[in-house]
Amino acid sequence: MTKNPFWRLLKLAAPFKGWIALATLLGVSTVGSGIGLMATSAYLISSAALHPSVAALSLAIVGVRFFGISRGIFRYLERYVSHQVTFKLLARLRVWFYEAIEPLAPARLLEGRYRSGDLLSRVVADIETLQDFYGRVLAPPLVAAIVGLGMWFFLGAYAVNLALIFLAFFLMAGVGVPLLTYRLSRKLSREVITVRAELNVEVVDGLQGLAEVVAFGQEEKQFKQVQALNRKLIYRQQQLSWVNGLQNGLGNLLMNLAAWAMLWGAIPLVQEGGLEGIYLALLILAALASFEAVLPLPMAFQHLGSSLEAARRLFEIVDSPPIIHEPKTLSPTPRNYSIEVKNLCFQYEAEGVGYRASGDGKEEEYLAQHPTPDTRHPIPDTRCPTPNTRYAVDNISFTLPEGQCLALVGPSGAGKSTLANLLLRFWDYSEGQIRLGGYELRDYSQADLHKLCGVVTQTTHLFNTTIRENLLIARPDATPQELITATTQAHIHDFIQTLPLGYDTLVGEEGLRLSAGERQRIAIARALLKNAPILILDEATANLDTITEREIWRTLQTLRQGRTTMIITHQLSGLEMADEILVLRAGKMVERGPHYELLSLEGFYWRMWLNNR
């Protein structure tokens, strides 16, 4: 998998090679028509200067007219076809990336360096950069190479040394100048990017932290910092403009010098009779016109750099091995909806370290060969093997019988959400055991497992569509009445009714901005609508004010009847309804028992409870 990103990119574009060939051909034809127009025009005038009969000129006249018309048409077709390629490539890249990322989500998207929220927008931007891979990176050198080759043969047919002079200048302009400007600008461009990032940080600091800046009277200082970085950035950009100027000037110089040198070389030839004078103007103008093909090359070089950079980032994500491994056999039918956790240990993998503590696929084989549910994983009655490493979940055991309610509480970083992630098979545990309905959790496919679970998490993503569509994700065939029942239970129906378009109001970027509490209630409604036998509430009432929170808890209390429920929270309210509470701290279980029992212990739970008030 360590193949060069350039070749992998080419492979992604491979299905469109017919279209690419066509677009390239049209690009060459466009430049070719320009050359043809100038060459035939020059030939026409040179011939006419010798005063032959009109008939002798007719072919040249036809040629001039043909090229005069064809260039525009070729240009038009070339743009049309190359946009075909661009959009086809875009569609392919999106589906390719989605297919690759879907099995990796959400684990790979949540871990370490990808945790920052802007990863996904960078992915989208990277794919957009790559959609131009053909138009901006592949096409210009291809066209230039074909034009150069064609000119070599064309000029060579008249005089070999003219072809040599031409080729020397053409290569200098097409390869030398891009390389030179690339070398000159590389360090500067990098500095521009760094300074721009620094400026960005300072501006974001200055605006997001404006309240602090103003409250502490630091406006002046913050402004000065932005000012200094801004001026530094502009200064660097101006240095970069010197390189750009050099590139423009050199390109222009080489083109005209090529014509000049060819003229200088052709004069003795004409005198000695090695070249007919009538072709002199033709060859010079053809050479000048052909430089049109090399002018976009320096840009192509820069785009190549950014394309490879974008590709490298995408491949890096796509290549990461899946965190969970789907069972090779069909998911079992759970005997009931109880959850049993024994000696569970889990550790997020360290950054950059390849995953798979559990082996290399051998385990799956083992599973496939030993299908009896009860003997597949003998419960090891040992503690987690390496006590020195910090486990996110450290030797946790509990049983949650069907229809009961278990609460996991503890400060942030205690391992509560990790446990939820393990229960949903977003990650696979390495040691210990989780059983659902009598079967090991790993025997269920992710999709089948998710069918059994209704989940409300602490951050709710609402899609850029109507409220109704957002709710229907949970159950596409739900009736309007069922929808309203769910929203009423989640205390959001009345609010939705007040919106101008009711359930058809758009939410998200282009629509209504909902408060965190409103989003949360929509998420609860969504879970209610799904009506799954297991309910996982991961900080479901975070972001709600106390009174609403209490109402929601009342709803949840009726709702949890008949369902196996797991509540994850750091706010110790509403926990009287839990049959058992596990108090976690730094991955370890420190206390367990029902609410009042835990309070009477006057331990960690009791202190948390006091602090919460």
Partner: protein, 582 residues
């Protein structure tokens, strides 16, 4: 081809550079004429007069000089165009940032801040192309063809006439098709960005889709959306590309017409070969600026679009606060009784829907008193704090200090009296020490350490790799919520102001952290006048006075005991905290 007036005004300071750029462009036009002239002369001499290298050597040398001069001018004009753009960007970005600062936190708060910082950085950057490419090219498109056509006229009247006649046809067609195509083009780019938004939306919601078993279905949706987009867009582009077709076709056809015309007249000796060749060389150069303008057009359009947002911000009037700074204001000698008298405030989105946040709020804070604001979210607690900090000004009613209206003091001077501890403190990229020094930029390290000790932050700072010099943020240490809280408290200790505005954090801390924060807070509120937005009952018990808010109104004022006697929202709140579900 709209010229954005407000953008053009920005050129005031950079006219010299623009003039140089345009002047260089014109000079290049002259050199093109010279080059064409000498090239046609040399070829004519070799081809028809059958001269040798020795005879044309002089001409070749002149030609070489012209070629070198052209390259130099090319270089120089690029540099000076960038100089102009750079100056405009420097100026605009600084103005924009300081204007946003003056508009204050109530304008920049929330989700908006991302968009605003993008406007300051990326938005201003988008103007570059307008000043470095679009504007100079606009002038050159008018003047360079003019010089060339004059030169052609001196060589051959008829060809000059053809150029002159065809020249207006091209822009005319371009405008006719261009406007329709531009609208289509714009629509297409908009739908492209919408499609990207859709894709991003799906990626962001991938977890949800998976949980609801919908992620496989989305694969086909993405393919379908992209395919539909390709088809409709190409349908649109078929038309949009017509402008390119017309431009290209117009230019090449005119060259072809001239070539045939001079060729035939040359046949009948109505024109000399040298003049004919000279005209042929100039004909494409005549159309070149116009074609180049076509390619810069997009840059100009997107810059104009970006500038709309920039000017929208710049033209937003500053709140009254910032104007008060200019006038002489009495110094504040000591902090007296702060009185809110029938204060109203409404948030407005773009000046339209005014959402009332406060409606006739009255209460007093006596010197040394601790006043707690209590109420459900959205009741107006933060608005009161912001009014006191003068991030915003009351729309009605008055806030006064010992009878003097708050407006009479300069806002910056007034804020010197206040230490503010927000609910979610913002940590700046920079070191721990720098972040604490926000409270007092000139504080010595010893003072910073003392403040950190008082805020119970010293110990954890000591455990960081570089202690007080540890960088925070993306590249540095990630601090927990409790640690950030304590840094914020350290700022307040360092500032040591008589009035403290404290927005209590809703707790998500482990007991140890929480205890440390509470301890530091308790120390901070000593001997100070304090306004607390309270989220904990414990804090409320300690207050001298409790102001209960609901939907922008004060519903009750009193001590904990007094309020508990009464039926109402306070009792409900206390029960919600206290009694759990029962």
């Amino acid at each position: 081809m709209k010229l954005e007036k407000r953008l053009l005004q920005q050129t005031r300071n950079v006219r010299v550079y623009l003039a140089i750029t345009i002047g260089l462009g014109l000079l290049m036009g002259l050199l093109i004429i010279g080059q064409s002239y000498f090239l046609s002369q040399v070829i004519a001499n070799i081809f028809l007069a059958e001269q040798g290298l020795a005879q044309v050597e002089g001409l070749l040398q002149i030609l070489l000089l012209i070629i070198i001069a052209r390259a130099l001018l090319n270089f120089w004009s690029e540099v000076s165009a960038n100089q102009a753009a750079g100056q405009v960007k420097t100026h605009l970005r600084e103005r924009l940032f300081s204007h946003l600062q003056a508009l204050g936190p109530s304008y920049t708060r929330g989700e908006r801040s991302g968009e605003l910082s993008h406007t300051v950085t990326g938005g201003v950057e988008a103007l570059d192309a307008y000043f470095s490419q679009y504007l100079p090219q606009l002038f050159l498109t008018v003047f360079v063809p003019l010089i060339i056509v004059i030169a052609v006229f001196t060589a051959d009247f008829l060809s000059g006439l053809i150029l002159l006649l065809t020249a207006p046809i091209l822009p005319l067609f371009m405008i006719l098709i261009g406007q329709a195509a531009e609208a289509l083009n714009k629509k297409q780019w908009r739908s492209l960005s919408q499609m990207s938004a859709h894709f991003l939306d799906v990626l962001q919601g991938l977890t949800i889709l998976k949980l609801f078993g919908r992620s496989q279905v989305q694969r086909t949706t993405i393919a379908k959306v992209s395919e539909r987009f390709r088809q409709t867009t190409l349908g649109v582009l078929r038309v949009a590309f017509l402008s390119a077709l017309v431009l290209e076709m117009g230019a090449t056809l005119s060259v072809a017409v001239i070539a045939v015309e001079i060729g035939l007249r040359l046949l009948y000796s109505q024109i000399s070969f040298q003049s004919a060749f000279f005209v042929l060389l100039l004909a494409p150069e005549f159309y070149l600026p116009l074609r180049l303008f076509g390619t810069k057009f997009h840059a100009g359009m997107s810059a104009t679009a970006a500038s709309q947002r920039i000017f929208e911000i710049l033209e937003r009037p500053l709140p009254a606060t910032s104007q008060a700074d200019i006038t002489d204001s009495p110094p504040l000698l000591s902090l007296g009784t702060i009185r809110f008298n029938q204060v109203c405030y409404g948030y407005s989105d773009n000046g339209e829907n005014v959402r009332p946040a406060l409606n006739g709020v009255s209460f007093e804070i006596q010197p040394g008193q601790k006043v707690a604001l209590v109420g459900p979210s959205g009741a107006g607690k933060s608005t009161i704090a912001h009014l006191l900090l003068r991030f915003i000004e009351a729309t009605q009613g008055e806030i006064s200090v010992d009878g003097t209206p708050l407006q009479n003091f300069a806002a910056q001077g007034w804020r010197k009296q206040i230490a503010w501890v927000p609910q979610n403190p913002y940590l700046f990229s920079g070191t721990i020490a720098e972040n604490i020094r926000l409270g007092e930029p000139n504080a010595t390290l010893a003072e910073v350490i003392q403040a950190a000790q008082e805020a119970q932050a010293h110990e954890f700072i000591e455990t960081l790799p570089q202690g007080y010099e540890t960088a925070i943020g993306e590249r540095g240490a990630r601090l927990s919520g409790g640690q950030a809280q304590r840094l914020s408290l350290a700022r307040a200790f360092l500032k040591n102001a008589p009035l403290l505005v404290l927005d209590e954090a809703t707790s998500n801390l482990d007991p140890e952290n929480e205890a440390l924060v509470l301890e530091a807070t308790a120390r901070l509120v000593q001997n100070r006048t304090v306004l607390i937005i309270a989220h904990r009952l414990y804090t409320v018990y300690q207050a001298d006075q409790i102001v209960v808010l609901e939907a922008g109104r004060v519903v009750a004022i009193g001590t904990h005991q007094a309020l508990l006697q009464k039926e109402g929202i306070y009792r409900e709140l206390v029960q919600a905290y206290d009694g759990g579900l029962v």
